[in-house]
Subunit: 336 residues, 2 copies
């Protein structure tokens, strides 16, 4: 097996002590130039790398951050992850990605796992099932830095970054209204998620502003964010079977938007022609779709970058941070 060189190997080879070698390799300001040179050259020659596990044990940090998302197959999240990596790697941090698949239980397991593996901080977007955030506040109270992105926990006092969901939802709904639709339904993820609440608010606001009455039957939630297609399917069918059938749907999520189109596809095409859709999506393929989908796009990459910058700031701060930011970024509407 794979036995990398250690400090001790260098020390023995050079007739020095491990502490001298250790200092020569990093510290410097009290080591003679000649030993330093000697050590550095030898280390270079044998391609020495300090054992990060030993360093972690000693220094009580792992130079790694944990990320918890619903699923990497979701375009929004894969773009956010790219943003996260771009910052983290620059600063010498490793990124450990985990997926909840919208399950509360998985979220708890992943959280535990990451915490016990000693990540220095956590970047999380809550699962659709998550109502209770006790698993997170427990860790947060013990001092683990956490930053929320996209799907926020209001009750935990830390940095947060999200899209302007209300405004984005407003604009999408407004677009439908201006296009002449009056019976606009709303298909959303689980009702308690921050993004669902905000998007619902934007939808409601747009209806109000244009003098359209809110019809409670028009609002459908998918408790698993459409992770199971049956969920989306039955929600859409319920809408289609209403006596007063809606003529448009504002969909509050990437996976739901696709799920919704899939349901439409499986039905007759007529159902489509008089049913417009606008929805949140970060997919790059929307222009290639058979059905025009007006989309609200979040600045995912940038959100990932900002979340990571915030987290590293918490991690590397000398004194406890007490002022927290709640950053909100604008979405962009793409008409189709």
């Amino acid at each position: 097996m794979f036995e990398p060189a250690t400090l001790k190997d260098i020390a023995i080879a050079l007739g020095l002590s491990t502490s001298t070698v250790s200092r020569a390799l990093r510290d410097t300001y009290e080591i003679s130039p000649k030993t330093k040179k000697l050590v550095l050259e030898y280390a270079e020659k044998i391609n020495y790398r300090p054992n990060p596990i030993a360093q972690s044990l000693k220094e009580r940090r792992t130079k790694s951050i944990g990320v918890i998302v619903s699923e990497v197959a979701n375009q929004y999240f894969s773009q956010a992850i790219n943003g996260i990596e771009s910052i983290a790697y620059d600063k010498g941090y490793h990124v450990i990605i985990t997926q909840t698949h919208e399950s509360y239980e998985r979220e708890m397991i992943n959280t535990q796992h990451l915490a016990s593996r000693g990540v220095d901080g956590l970047l999380i977007s809550l699962s659709a099932e998550t109502k209770d955030t006790g698993h997170l506040s427990a860790l947060h109270d013990k001092g683990l830095p956490i930053v929320f992105f996209d799907r926020i926990a209001e009750e935990i006092h830390t940095h947060k970054i999200s899209a302007n969901n209300e405004k984005g939802a407003f604009e999408a709904t407004e677009h439908l209204i201006r296009a002449g639709y009056k019976k606009i339904a709303h298909l959303s993820s689980s009702a308690h998620l921050s993004i669902s609440i905000e998007r619902l608010r934007g939808y409601t606001k747009a209806l109000n502003q244009y003098g359209i009455a809110l019809n409670p039957d028009y609002i459908k939630n998918c408790p698993h964010g459409g992770m199971f297609q049956e969920e989306t399917e039955s929600a859409v069918l319920e809408l289609l079977n209403l006596k007063e059938k809606p003529d448009a749907i504002f969909v509050a999520g990437d996976r739901l938007s696709m799920g919704c189109l899939t349901v439409f596809k499986s039905l007759n095409v007529d159902a489509l022609n008089d049913m417009a859709i606008a929805g949140f999506s970060n997919s790059d393929m929307l222009d290639l779709l058979k059905y025009p989908l007006t989309s609200v796009r979040q600045p995912a990459f940038e959100m990932g970058q900002i979340a990571t910058t915030m987290l590293l700031q918490l991690i590397e701060s000398k004194r406890p941070v007490t002022e927290f930011e709640n950053k909100v970024l604008d979405t962009k509407l793409f008409l189709r």
Copy 2:
């Protein structure tokens, strides 16, 4: 900061030695039932978790595996990752995902990073740029278990799992031929990748078998697997500008298939009607596309599972493994 309980804390609280506590918590067969019970209950009560960093340092293993893929946004890879996780988590292993974005340099950096962080093994699908696999064979020679999936390095002697690319390519090409197309081009990732070689072989074989001459001008490679849209665009334009314009394209990759459609979209629609496409893709959205794309789908989830099973077998094997498997799974053709 976050200071979890240690063995010592338990030992002091219970008036035992750390070794007794350590044994009580795990070993057992020589600890008296009563102390065992005492320790277990107390540990449970204070919610004790062993420090994995210390365990790793001691036991020279981290119970984590590294994964290197091009990008998680690629459906094939996100599905494979789900397969990987499903096995790894079951066996108590943590999964660290990294992306190369098809860059050789990133691949080397990620490999180094994962190795130095002490992953117990590596699951890798080569980047499009990678020609030299010295960075991997160096680690492999030192004893790091590595399993290749999808994009294989022939020269490294270890377990490998891939799709039957040749057969998949053959079937897709054959489908185009039977549909009446005769001037079939081939758009592929970088020429040296195992998947490119195999898919080219399948394409060639189908042409041969149906008595169609191979036209070298019809074969275009994208050295970055279409990671940059310009690359795909210029390749497709070159095909379209040939005096003897092809009437169909067989595309050898997920990203390339989408890139190709995007180029088509940006051109006039007529270019589409007389240009059929068949290609490798694991996207779930193909049925929703404006353009019918006959697709070759790989059993991504299963491949991830098998690769992980193989890797864990290498990692946990008592004696050095010398017999290696080269598993090949069938693809599935979806006509559109």
